[in-house]
């Protein structure tokens, strides 16, 4: 118990004095999360909006596959990406294995279905209300998809935040493809796993506090946005 409290105090010291190693890990975590969520949002939000507002032959199959992909096991994704980017893999010539770039790719594979499916659910309910109006005014497909995204902006912000939450707390895939290399691919989650196994609890706890605080801030922000949206729109949706 004494060891834990000492480690806790020590971890607070690392945070307050902006320990260089801690800051480097945090910065890399946020950078990878930023790019993974950015790419997932750029691809996933329009795709989700398009699927929600368009009917084509295999739409239900595509949607079912995407929903199934929401529960992809991170370690399996990590293994899959590892095999592709390893030296003998089909994209091994790119030399991306054990780099932040391949960690972003793995995270995009994990987050994209989440962003896409949550967007689909949000915009499908809006589509029920809007589609007759769009059809009667002969609104072009692209314009209507943009309108769905613009009009769901508050809800979509929560989708992005959910993506950030998933990305920043993910460990299984990135530890396989990133290798947890010091100063290169070490992020908060992989560092926590390593430092705990080494018994270096102060750094592990310091990172844990940062991770937990980030999650709390994100959830608080989601609640704030929801409240703001309900207040300004007068809607319960």
């Amino acid at each position: 118990m004494n060891d834990i409290s000492e480690a806790f105090v020590s971890s607070l010291g690392l945070i307050l004095f902006l320990d260089a190693e801690l800051m480097e890990i945090i910065l890399l975590s946020f950078t990878i999360t930023f790019y993974a969520v950015l790419i997932s949002s750029i691809l996933g939000i329009p795709l989700g909006a398009f699927l929600a507002s368009t009917h084509f032959k295999f739409r239900n199959t595509v949607v079912s596959i995407l929903f199934g992909m929401m529960g992809l096991p991170p370690v399996v994704v990590g293994l899959f990406v590892y095999l592709i980017f390893s030296r003998s893999g089909s994209l091994g010539w790119m030399g991306l294995l054990y780099s932040p770039m391949v960690m972003i790719i793995a995270q995009v594979i994990l987050i994209l279905p989440i962003v896409c499916c949550l967007t689909f659910q949000i915009i499908e309910s809006l589509h029920t209300r809007y589609h007759e109006f769009f059809r009667s005014y002969r609104i072009a497909k692209l314009k209507s998809v943009i309108a769905y995204i613009v009009d769901s902006r508050f809800e979509l912000t929560t989708v992005v935040l959910a993506g950030i939450g998933r990305s920043i707390s993910e460990v299984g895939a990135i530890i396989i493809v990133g290798g947890n290399i010091d100063h290169i691919t070490r992020v908060m989650t992989t560092a926590i796993a390593l430092e705990t196994s080494k018994g270096n609890l102060d750094l592990a706890l310091g990172l844990g506090i940062i991770l937990l605080t980030t999650a709390i801030i994100l959830n608080g922000f989601i609640l704030f946005l929801r409240g703001k949206y309900l207040k300004t729109s007068g809607s319960t949706i």
Binding site: R129, Y130, E132, F133, R135, S136, Y137, I139, A147, V150, D151, T232, S233, G234, S235
Partner: protein, 233 residues
């Protein structure tokens, strides 16, 4: 624009859904100008008929053609009973339906909002308007597209009396002379105030079609007489 010579011909129009016929083979010739009111009880098939006219529904058989004029069924604007409001400002709602936003159109949008009593709310979030204001916005938004035909599906069904008065006054004074209006209602008094001609629909069949004057003074069918006297709701 609508003219007296133009006729909208409905030929053998019918609509089924899941084996149930909601509109039976209908043949009609409607005036190309003025206000045609589709009158009938709830569930009679008025909205189905209107949506077939707009093209929102595809008929199972039959056709709709325009004869004797330039009136095109494709240049119509539809306003539904439940106002569809985009989550943006009142003015942006107006401009959304335009293919190209010009300064003239922006000015027109502001003029229309002023006519609808919404000029002071043009920068307000449209979602926060009252039900009547939302419906007035929908009507103004329909007019800005300069439609040849305006199709209104019970636009005053759920709104306050002053909005109903404003909409009716606007339709009679500003719109009736320049474009064709199809108006769905089950309110007999409203039909009396607005209609030039009446299409009375009962259980998916058009059973009476005549001028408003003839319909109310001398209804030909038993159902129409019962409806006018309030015995069918």
């Amino acid at each position: 624009m609508a003219s007296e010579d133009t006729q909208i011909r409905i030929n053998d129009l019918s609509f089924d859904i899941e084996g149930q016929t909601l509109l039976h083979n209908t043949n009609l010739s409607l005036n190309g100008d003025g206000i045609t009111v589709f009158l009938g009880a709830n569930g009679a098939g008025k909205t189905i008929f209107l949506k077939l006219l707009t093209g929102l529904l595809t008929p199972c058989s039959g056709s709709i053609t325009v004869e004797g004029g330039k009136l095109s069924i494709k240049t119509c604007a539809f306003v539904s009973q439940e106002p569809v409001i985009l989550r943006r400002t009142v003015l942006k709602n107006m401009l959304f339906v335009l293919e190209k936003i010009t300064s003239e159109k922006s000015t027109l949008a502001k003029e229309l909002l002023s006519l609808m009593g919404l000029d002071k709310k043009e920068h307000q979030n449209a979602m926060t308007l009252s039900a009547g204001e939302k419906q007035r916005l929908c009507l103004a938004r329909a007019i800005i597209t300069n439609p040849e035909i305006l199709l209104l599906d019970e636009p005053t069904a759920n709104i306050e009396p002053n909005s109903t008065t404003l909409i009716e006054k606007y339709l009679i004074q500003k719109v009736r002379s320049s474009r064709k209006i199809f108006f769905v209602t089950h309110d007999i008094n409203q039909a009396r105030r607005l209609a030039d001609e009446i299409v009375f629909i009962h259980t998916g069949r058009v059973i009476e079609h005549s001028s408003a004057e003839n319909f109310f003074e001398n209804p030909k069918t038993r159902e129409a007489r019962k409806y006018i006297s309030g015995k069918i709701n």
